[in-house]
Every structure is written in structure tokens, then in C-alpha cells.
């Protein structure tokens, strides 16, 4: 009985805080994406033949985001029947966008105009651990080019 109460409490706490945190995070992501729209992020490997863009520097951004208890529970249920695990999709989406935003913020800090050859790397601190923490770790990096005066 106590186990059940604990489980329900954890689920409720996870649902409450998790949903709130996700909403707030998405709001902040969208605001910052609008602010940083001026710096295009391009995955092309080669810079344009444009002599004015010359100063290059590596910029990167990283983030580690964990999923809440409620979503992990949903994902475990989903595992039984198969199909899209929507609860993890939003987690991965948030992490990637956040990492790219941090990279763009760094580029803005050095007054860069454009970011080329952006790569996304997903790492795992917790892989292989028994009570694995459901978290995703994203590193975004690229080359920021600046107009030389």
C-alpha cells in the first residue's frame, strides 16, 4: 500500500513539475530563438566564396536535460505496446534546440555573422548504469565566421 502511495506521489510530482518545467523551457527557447535569428546556422561543409567573411572560430554549446518521473513511467508503458514514445521526443527536441541556442549565443558574443558546418553530438554519461537516469546530453558545434573590417 505504501509503495503504491509513493508511486502515485512520485508520478504526481513528476507530472506537475515536469510539465511546468517543459512549458517554461519551451517559452524561453522560442524567445531566444527569435532573438538570435540574425545568425544563420548552416550544416554545409564549405563556406561561401565571399572574401569578406574570413575570421573563423570554433563555437559550441552543450546541455544535459533529464526527463521527469511521469514521462519515464509513460515511456515504460509505451515499451509494452510499441509505437512513438512522444514523452522522449520532446526531451530530445528541447535538448537539441537548447544546445544550438547556446552555440549561437557564443557566436553572438564574438560578433560572428554566420555558423557553418554545424554538427550535433549526443553523448551519454549514464549509459550502462543499472538505475539509469533518463537524460540526454547534446553537444552542438560549428565554425563561426566573422566579417573582417
Amino acid at each position: 500500500m505504501i509503495d503504491l502511495i509513493i508511486l502515485v506521489t512520485l508520478l504526481a510530482v513528476g507530472y506537475g513539475f515536469g510539465t511546468y518545467a517543459e512549458k517554461r523551457h519551451y517559452k524561453s527557447i522560442i524567445t531566444r530563438e527569435n532573438e538570435l535569428r540574425g545568425i544563420p546556422v548552416i550544416t554545409s561543409r564549405f563556406p561561401p566564396v565571399n572574401k569578406s567573411l574570413t575570421d573563423a572560430a570554433l563555437v559550441s554549446g552543450s546541455v544535459v536535460i533529464s526527463v521527469d518521473y511521469f514521462k519515464r513511467f509513460l515511456a515504460a508503458l509505451r515499451n509494452l505496446v510499441g509505437g512513438r514514445v512522444t514523452s522522449y521526443e520532446s526531451l530530445v527536441d528541447r535538448a537539441r534546440r537548447e544546445a544550438i541556442l547556446r552555440m549561437k549565443a557564443e557566436a553572438k558574443g564574438i560578433n560572428a555573422n554566420i555558423i557553418f558546418n554545424v554538427k550535433l553530438e549526443t553523448s551519454s554519461i549514464h549509459k550502462g548504469r543499472k538505475n539509469g537516469i533518463g537524460s540526454v546530453e547534446v553537444l552542438a558545434y560549428g565554425t563561426a565566421l566573422t566579417k573582417r573590417n
Binding site: 513528476g14 572560430a57 536535460i65 533529464s66 554519461i125 549514464h126
Partner: protein, 104 residues
């Protein structure tokens, strides 16, 4: 030292290729951080301690790569890539590698 992950730089010519340079770092956080991360796992949200860990290991891997490039006399590293793996539970390996070159 110019570090980029594109293969050619506009306006600059490669004088000499010096080969691959690399740097890696394996780091772990203390148990307190792991416990905090476990708690945070109930509420969801960013794990600041682990973000820091990732950043520190990235900086260190880059520093080691730059050290190696300086040792062979390069003035730029092109085509830099990052790669990650997990060696043990709670530890993150970050590996950076690129081509050391001399630019004119």
C-alpha cells in the same frame, strides 16, 4: 591558433599538412552530484552539474589537442570533430581530433 571544423578557410592557403592531432578527457562528478541528478530525475529539467561536466571535459580535450598541435608547430587545426563515449557509469569521455596545418 585558428580552430575550425570546416575543411578550407576562405582567404587562407594551407602551406603544409602536419597530420592528425587529438586530445581526450574522461571526467566524473562526485557522488553528491550524482544523487542530485537522481533527485532531479523525478522533477525533470536541466542537470546543471552534468552540463558543467560536459563543458569542462570539452575544454580539456580541446586544450590537449591544441597542445599537441603547438608541439608539431602548427598554427591552425582544421576539420575538428568531437566524439563522445561512456567508459564507466557516471564518467564521460570526450574526444576531440582534427588536422594540424600551417596556414600562410
Amino acid at each position: 591558433m585558428i580552430i575550425t571544423n570546416i575543411e578550407i578557410l576562405p582567404d587562407k592557403r594551407i602551406v603544409e599538412h602536419l597530420g592528425l592531432v587529438q586530445g581526450s578527457s574522461v571526467r566524473a562528478k562526485h557522488v553528491g552530484r550524482d544523487i542530485m541528478a537522481g533527485l532531479k530525475n523525478i522533477f525533470g529539467g536541466e542537470l546543471k552539474g552534468y552540463t558543467e561536466l560536459l563543458q569542462e571535459s570539452r575544454t580539456e580535450a580541446m586544450d590537449r589537442m591544441i597542445e599537441q598541435a603547438e608541439a608539431v608547430g602548427a598554427n591552425a587545426i582544421l576539420n575538428v570533430r568531437f566524439s563522445t563515449s561512456s567508459v564507466a557509469a557516471g564518467a564521460a569521455e570526450l574526444f576531440a581530433y582534427g588536422t594540424a596545418v600551417i596556414l600562410e
